[in-house]
Subunit: 291 residues, 2 copies
């Protein structure tokens, strides 16, 4: 293997250390603990595990998590109302709706009930457009984590050709927009792409986000390319790791690559949201004649 | 020349005929005339011309336009408040803010003051995300017009490689998302793209939206490709027309290609907005016990 590993675990640990420090400062300054609310619908074991991991990381960095668990049979309306309550609750800084939700629920309606100022998982339409327009909103957590990982290794993006395989609203589409905002030339491939091998073979940076194990063959990778594997189905990535690592200059392992970066981004965005909320409160408390 | 012309003037005329018919039906059904409000800031002659053309087309199809003209010196806050009033005005169905606005104004804040249900020019973050997520919102007018033009000639998109040159929030980015929603493989190129000629040479469909006259050389076009020129700077397109038309299968002229489609899309979306407003009013008028 010739590629250098993009060590998401190590980079995420560094980010979480910074978050922990920021949380300490925040508590000293404002006398309260930041809160991430997690909403889980139904009893999918993997989703329970993810939510528990997120709650554990919250505790590690000194934040509180508030876990809302709802029965799989609830209606969209009930879920939307629950999330709206959290959006209006002054004690809650960030809201995460664990997806996927059961099929009968309108996931988009539930996402849109999250106040943009608390959308620390970057799932709302507003957050997506702000990513696309480079307006500094909250990034979708996995795409934001991928960018932070590339930055940690000083990987140049401007003028490079990035190929994103996958086009989901919370992974493929936003990561492409974040790469475009960093001046990469960006190609979106997907299940209907006619010549996936050729498209991937031209990439300086490949982001695999299709959720199909080992869809991307190692032999397709251009020598020296950077390979980011955001797949996770069946505990395997979307990229044929061993063969790709023979050709790539940098590559993420699965697990230990993108996964840890997702949680780190979520918590980094939560402390950022908490600070923004306190700043907004202070500004609105200034008497009108001073504004 | 071997390419067939994508005749935007003729296709737009057909769409405007349909809109005129729909407006007639709407007036009979609801006893009022749909209204498009146009907001113009400052005295750029080209912008005045565009707004006047839009008002004329409104009249042609039987809709009313309400023209708001504001001094170039107004603040963002004044403009935002003006647009909010239009968003809340039950007589207004669609709102168009003519861009560009003067540099001191926060254009994004002004766009976001447009209620998504009246965003018939497709400029808000909500409209952008709904385009990207294929959720059936209002398309940005020019990208929506481009798609309607391609559809009028039954040009296949699924599995084709589309290259978009340009990445503005109301043209390049949304047209790429609309092409992606139609299952094209989509590449975004821009001023930092290292190998524009090579990228364009691989395209089955080229959408030129850079605003740089004749940036795209005819010799770059793959034989048989479809060429859509959304440029208009200095009355010239972004594509070297004569040379490109020797190689393309279909090509838009400038003028008479994308331009007329933009206004047609704007008005088609305005009558759609008017119907949606009436439907929403009827639903909210139903007594609660029947809901």
């Amino acid at each position: 293997m010739t590629a250098q590993i993009l060590d998401g675990r190590a980079v995420a640990a560094g980010i979480l250390d910074d978050v922990k420090h920021d949380v300490g400062e925040f508590i000293k300054e404002y006398g309260r603990v930041p809160v991430l609310a997690t909403v889980l619908v139904g009893d999918d074991p993997a989703s329970h595990t993810y939510v528990r991991m997120k709650a554990n990381r919250c505790r590690d960095v000194g934040m509180n998590s508030r876990r809302i668990e709802l029965d799989a049979s609830i209606t969209t309306e009930t879920l939307v109302n629950q999330i709206r309550e959290l959006s209006e609750d002054p004690e809650v800084d960030g809201i995460l709706l664990q997806h996927p939700v059961p099929d009968h629920i309108d996931e988009r309606a539930a996402f849109e009930a999250i106040a943009p100022s608390k959308d620390v998982d970057g799932v709302t339409r507003t957050s997506f457009a702000m990513m696309a327009f480079d307006e500094g909103g909250f990034a979708s957590a996995t795409p934001g984590g991928i960018m932070a990982l590339l930055d940690a290794y000083d990987i140049p993006l401007a003028g490079k050709h990035a190929v994103v395989v996958g086009r989901s609203p919370i992974l493929g589409k936003p990561v492409g927009m974040l790469l475009l905002a960093r001046d990469a030339t960006v190609t979106y491939c997907h299940s209907r792409t006619a010549d996936l091998a050729e498209q991937v073979a031209r990439a300086d940076v490949v982001v695999a986000a299709a959720g199909r194990p080992e869809l991307i063959r190692g032999e397709w990778i251009k020598p020296g390319a950077v390979v980011v594997d955001a797949g996770y189905a069946d505990n395997r990535g979307d990229v044929e790791f061993e063969a790709a690592a023979e050709r790539a200059s940098y590559i993420t392992p699965v697990p230990g690559g993108v996964g840890p970066m997702t949680i780190a981004t979520l918590l980094a965005q939560t402390i950022r949201a908490a600070r923004a909320h306190e700043t907004a409160r202070q500004n609105s408390a200034i008497p009108a004649r001073n504004q």
